[in-house]
Subunit: 478 residues, 2 copies
Amino acid sequence: MSTVIKSILSEGKEGEKLVIKGWVRTKRGSKNVSFIALNDGSCLGNLQVVAAVEHFSEEDLKDVTTGACIEVSGALAASQGSGQAVELIAEELKVLGKADPDSFPMQPKKHSMEFLREHAHLRFRTNTMAAVFRIRHNLSFAIHKFFNDRGFYNLHTPIITGSDAEGAGEMFRVTTLPADNPPKTEEGAVNYAEDFFGKETNLTVSGQLEAELGALALGKVYTFGPTFRAENSNTTRHLAEFWMIEPEVAFNDLKDNMDLAEDFLKYCVQYCLDNCQEDLEFLDKRFVDLEKQKPANERSEKGLIERLQEIVSNSFERITYTEAINVLQNSKPYKKKKFKYPVEWGTDLQSEHERYLVEKHFGKPVIITDYPASFKAFYMRLNEDGQTVAAMDILFSGIGEIVGGSQREERLDVLEQKMKEFDIPAEEMYWYLDTRRFGTCVHSGFGLGFERLVQFVTGMGNIRDVIPFPRTPKNAEF
Amino acid sequence: MSTVIKSILSEGKEGEKLVIKGWVRTKRGSKNVSFIALNDGSCLGNLQVVAAVEHFSEEDLKDVTTGACIEVSGALAASQGSGQAVELIAEELKVLGKADPDSFPMQPKKHSMEFLREHAHLRFRTNTMAAVFRIRHNLSFAIHKFFNDRGFYNLHTPIITGSDAEGAGEMFRVTTLPADNPPKTEEGAVNYAEDFFGKETNLTVSGQLEAELGALALGKVYTFGPTFRAENSNTTRHLAEFWMIEPEVAFNDLKDNMDLAEDFLKYCVQYCLDNCQEDLEFLDKRFVDLEKQKPANERSEKGLIERLQEIVSNSFERITYTEAINVLQNSKPYKKKKFKYPVEWGTDLQSEHERYLVEKHFGKPVIITDYPASFKAFYMRLNEDGQTVAAMDILFSGIGEIVGGSQREERLDVLEQKMKEFDIPAEEMYWYLDTRRFGTCVHSGFGLGFERLVQFVTGMGNIRDVIPFPRTPKNAEF
């Protein structure tokens, strides 16, 4: 196996003989010498390959164009140029795979994000997207490591589900029935009894209810898997297919839940600060450049890395929904009627309110707890006041809600009553209710949309640019 | 937060004051003292709670029944009984959640695997299934750690796919069109242009093709996600929804690929031997007990842990398909006509042949390479002989094929020719072919069915018993 560029750039020694393979980013130079910037995806940095005219004719190098794959043998030398300690003096060079410059779509210039999405099969080869996907990997690993180190068990909850009771969003149907002529019942309805699973099935919107079953036996579990929403939302914040992390812990109350979520988010951010420095510095520059193009009042006052450091060095503000309403009603924008949406107890907070709390009033992440029961899910624990539930949302600057969670309703009678009010058929949910029937206990959990976290850490404006192959309305290419 | 039983059993000190929460496995005792076996899912072992008559009346303990959730305060004492170093002398005891003995389905006795599957929401609370799911977690973490430590990037390939070109198996359709009356084109066909993604979409059968795009930019990638087969297979080896791991590496040839797969499998098995000792010993006993009930000629000669140790301490045998055919044709069962299926060059190996090679002839894992092109996938690299491809299958005793992989066809012209022969529409696969058009290179990868690995490590006979919520024909419960 050949050596990877990441290790050469960090540990390469002058005089060392090497064979390197990678893709050409650029070639420039004079008639005496060519400089080839070579990248193999192991890191952002390129290895400079020096091909002198004594060894290589113009003909030898004619296929060494942007995008081509080459193999170079040579020895490392101290680099004259700035930005790198060593460069490779080429002795032999072989073109493994050409990239015809007339048709290769990725040029050594800035492409629009839209253009790159249309070429999702090649955008991995751009600096920006490769940095994003290396960070995405590091976040994924940090998540597994955080939970494993703390005694959680990873639980694979089902993707195809026969349960549609949670009501978290519109669902995709999964079927093997013929689309043009499905079997019908005597009454003329589609006969799902003949479908693959013998009933109507959908793609999951959340693994939480199943994770609760795991937690009430194994103690601490977490899911990390794809979830789906069939909503026709063409925004920079929505995907039809995205990944979610949902920890669930027996015996944790709302405070334990907040502590866990805060530790978790800080751990993930710190992990990237420690392990993705080069990629973060690159994305930080990109972020600052893009912010400069925005009107002054929409511009982020802080750089990307600065925002990340703020997460790990501040304790999150914790306030109840009722306190949040008070803060908002005493705020300047409220008094000057600058808020578009009403601020009154019993209505949900809008993005403008959340931004005010996080970015203006507290200047750090905020956890809002104890929302009115009326606009939160049926499984959240009813507080003693009979009006609010033990919910918590964590708000980040620039991104809004990044985590939503709650203490779960563990009391069978209260839960059954709630399900009645929410029109959830108890007989279909016998398996969920059984956990309250047999050895129930206090427990809590939360959900984190993985792409939201990747967006926050990478500073990418559009959620489609933090997932390899985005699925959105009218788009399932590749 | 209360202390978890795993840490008490390993580090608990005499005299230590504790609060413990968990579920009652059993209660037994005399009129003077009750012994409660308490489990909190953190490990297989129970904490023995001693409740003496001085502190607790019969009434106090009447709801302490199998499955109930309780909280106990007390102090640790050296245990008189065997099998544990410490026990908890209860001072206070609170029943958090009852489990009515007349209706609680999980009793402190052996239940059949079928019964447990029907109670998948409670089977997490049995020793066997909890051990399986703890090992499943450890395997999952080992996989992420193996690849992360070696510079691989985790890539989330799409679950919903518009591409049906790979032909790895029957697919599930994903749709939001009304089932009973879908929109039609003028020609009377279902009009998928009006479906959510603007075309017909399915659940993925493999992330490999997309992973190749990642590898030809980032160098080393791996997927770990759910995959689907809509096949009507009601066997102990098939699931409609299962998890797959697919590493893909630029510049790796078939030998590198074999080395990677062998290292990978050994690492995962060794990780469990190191980290899951208690659960493995429990499952080893179960395995040996079950083997005893089998007829002598079907019985495994080796214990579960012994089988695992063999994996890590042997190098895998590597032979070509052609050599395998020779071995088989010279074998006793062939000469005595004991094989049911023919053994001749050009036909695929059957399970009986694989078992002979692994269990009888070599007595260790076998990697078979260079199969005839005719029965392998279109993307496998054609060898110089023009007849075989650079494929590899890894066979384990008891389980058969655990890994399938290959060096990929990196030559555009050969690949296009192959796709023509396999009737794969090149225009739909432009994105895959582009990687061969622009900077192509030698690369390889393999696929591992995660549940097969969990089955091998846990010794579970039915694949449905190594996944939390199995999906099979006519079954998508929970």
